[in-house]
């Protein structure tokens, strides 16, 4: 294996036609390089999107009302209805599979112009009436202060948790917003916390940075919403599928609001678990495709090597004949040719691997930090294990590429090989 003659022979046969050797090796190099680039990009896409999801509760479903499409119990179709406060308790009581219930009200969006004022500063922000449970479904990082709690709900306190952008617009840089009173649609609220959103890729109709959470009960009372609930966010118990909760909750809510059980459009819902499963499937599909295309490209390179080895073997027919006349066994000839092929593929493959990883690292370095923007692409790096697997495939295919020409070399009778010109 470590005989100098052997490596000398490998070198001399490859160096005899440098251009040809280079272009042959380039096939494998490109195959591995492309595989690495694609795998890295696939990883980048997956990392980016999952980062954007943050720690959003994936076992959650969001439900809202829509005009009915079926007449029922004397009601006409196309009737508008609203979820109500007593639905909250009803959901908790009747569906044991439910984990958290977070009702929400929207107290006017920022489309309606400046709705929040502090001293001489004013801004247009989204106002949400929330339960403390909300922060467990779509968690935000508290930069200052705290999120809403049960006390705020029970006593309908006029307190507000504001997004970072809200703080920037309303307050001076050095000013501490905690404890200050801001005017939201004409009513004063005390700021109790500043938050930074974590799940940038999943918004509920507005930029989270520019939103304000106030207690659900307070919003209902102060702005005259009666006992209306705009929509529910529900989670399932740990070992229950969300779609079970989704179905049961829809059935219960329809029953409570005199909606036909066959009216599938009256309760709108988004099932996050389903979305996530689809996304995981998508990533798996992308990954599979990458491997198929990558291995295909690599195989094209390997077949190129095999072809060129065949040419080399043909050119060296006489030489191989001489060696066999002098006592080289077929095994010796085969190992020699296979080693040549493995050396060529390994060097080319390794170069492709290193170059591919380097490019991906470079892209990673120069990619801007995602911060609070929506991100689709992040950390496009290649797992070490994947690289090892790819390299193993390269070496293995090098053996395969060498085997065909090697067998051809020893299949000729030595005397015919000697006569070959």
């Amino acid at each position: 294996m470590f005989d100098r003659d052997r490596w000398y022979e490998i070198w001399s046969s490859l160096a005899k036609n440098k251009v040809r050797t280079f272009f042959t090796a380039f096939g494998v190099f490109w195959g591995i390089f492309m595989l690495m680039i694609m795998l890295g990009s696939g990883n980048g896409l997956e990392n980016g999107i999952t980062y954007g999801m943050g720690d959003l509760a994936t076992n959650s479903v969001f439900m809202w009302t829509r005009p009915t499409t079926e007449p029922y119990k004397g009601f006409p179709r196309n009737r508008r209805y609203y979820f109500r406060n007593d639905d909250i308790q009803a959901l908790k009581d009747n569906i044991p599979e439910i984990g958290l219930v977070a009702p929400r009200l929207e107290g006017g969006g920022r489309q309606s112009g400046n709705n929040v004022i502090y001293k001489q500063n004013a801004g247009a922000f989204n106002i949400y009436g929330d339960y403390p449970e909300w922060n467990k479904i779509d968690p935000a990082e508290m930069v200052q202060g705290r999120f809403l709690n049960a006390n705020d709900i029970n006593q309908a306190k006029k307190v507000a948790v504001i997004g970072r952008r809200v703080r920037e617009v309303l307050f001076e840089k050095e000013e501490d917003p905690i404890g200050k009173y801001i005017r939201i649609r004409g009513v004063y609220f005390q700021v109790i916390g500043v938050f930074k959103p974590k799940n940038m890729n999943f918004n509920f109709g507005g930029d989270k940075e520019q939103s304000i959470h106030i207690p659900f009960t307070t919003l209902q009372k102060v702005y005259n919403y009666g006992n209306i609930v705009a929509w529910f966010a529900l989670t399932s118990q740990p070992d229950v599928e969300v779609s079970v909760v989704e179905q049961k909750a829809a059935r219960l809510l329809k029953e409570r609001h005199n909606v036909s059980p066959d009216d599938h459009r009256a309760v709108g819902s988004v099932n996050l678990e389903k979305e996530f499963k689809q996304m995981t499937g998508l990533f798996m599909g992308i990954n599979g495709l990458i491997w198929i295309v990558g291995i295909g490209t690599l195989m094209a390179g390997v077949i190129g090597i095999s072809n060129i080895m065949l040419v080399i073997v043909k050119e060296r027919t006489k030489e191989i004949g001489i060696m066999r006349a002098l006592g080289a066994s077929p095994l010796k000839v085969i190992t020699q040719i296979v080693t040549e092929s493995v050396v060529l593929t390994s060097i080319a493959g390794y170069a492709g691997l290193v170059f591919g990883v380097l490019i991906m690292e470079l892209i990673d370095k120069n990619l801007p930090e995602p911060g609070n923007q929506e991100t689709m692409f992040m950390h496009p790096v290649i797992d070490f294990q994947v690289a090892v697997v790819a390299l193993t495939i390269v070496v293995f295919s090098g053996v395969l590429a060498g085997l065909v020409p090697a067998r051809k070399a020893v299949s000729i009778k030595p005397i015919d090989a000697l006569r070959y010109e």
Binding site: R4, L326, P330, K332, P414, I415
Partner: protein, 237 residues
């Protein structure tokens, strides 16, 4: 050393068969120096290739050093060639990118001898054939006679019992031919059997025995000294 009992060999070319050797009975004892003669197509090269295990016979029995050669796989044949036989070819068949020492040492490489040791042995053999000053030259930097002497050194290095030479002087002028033949005679005196295929009368003349082949059969087999001009050869002149 070599014994042929009714050896047959035919080549398949397309759908016609060419019968080259038509029952050869032959015995070459150890230490003999034999010339095989015959016009082209008489089967003399085929005979040599079968002796040298480079080709296989179709019928008859072949004993090499008392052992029956039958159903030999390539690995075993390679071993036998390496241990018992040395080859000298008309076209030298040296490996162009290896220098003189490396070419001579090649058979030892297949015996698994270390590089340092085999190069040392190779130098000894280069000295024997008078090529020591050219040890690091490539074959194309040598003259025809030097090349053939190099090839003979390579054939000798494995310590063979038999040396098989196929037209060893075919590509050489008469002076260098003579040098090569003197080398062969010397080697033969050390006890190695030599079989030379040639079509040159004066080359054959320097051996102890001449076997004449004609159309796949042994036409004449006689001790040297009773040289009879070849009828075919005379006709062509």
């Amino acid at each position: 050393m070599i014994k042929f009992n009714g050896i047959h060999k035919s080549y398949q070319t397309g759908n016609s068969s060419l019968h080259v050797l038509k029952g050869i009975d032959l015995e070459v004892t150890s230490g003999e120096m034999v010339a095989v003669m015959g016009s082209s197509g008489s089967g003399k090269s085929t005979l040599l290739n079968i002796i040298g295990l480079l080709d296989v016979h179709d019928g008859g029995d072949y004993y090499l050093d008392g052992k029956l050669v039958k159903d030999l796989n390539e690995t075993k044949a390679a071993q036998l060639r390496n241990k018992h036989l040395g080859f000298v070819f008309q076209s030298f068949n040296l490996i162009s990118f290896k220098n003189a020492v490396e070419n001579v040492a090649l058979p030892l490489y297949y015996q698994g001898i270390t590089r340092r040791k085999r190069n040392k042995i190779a130098m000894e053999y280069l000295e024997k054939v008078g090529l020591l000053p050219w040890s690091d030259h490539l074959p194309n930097e040598l003259s025809g006679g030097q090349k053939q002497r190099l090839a003979i050194a390579r054939a000798l290095i494995g310590n063979p019992k038999v040396i098989l030479a196929d037209e060893p002087t075919g590509a050489l002028d008469s002076v260098t031919s003579q040098e090569v033949m003197e080398l062969f005679t010397q080697i033969n005196k050390s006890g190695i059997t030599i079989i030379i295929v040639t079509h040159e009368n004066d080359i054959a003349h320097q051996t102890q025995r001449i076997i004449r082949l004609h159309d796949g059969k042994i036409e004449k087999d006689h001790k040297n000294g009773h040289f009879v001009p070849h009828t075919e050869f005379a006709k062509t002149i």
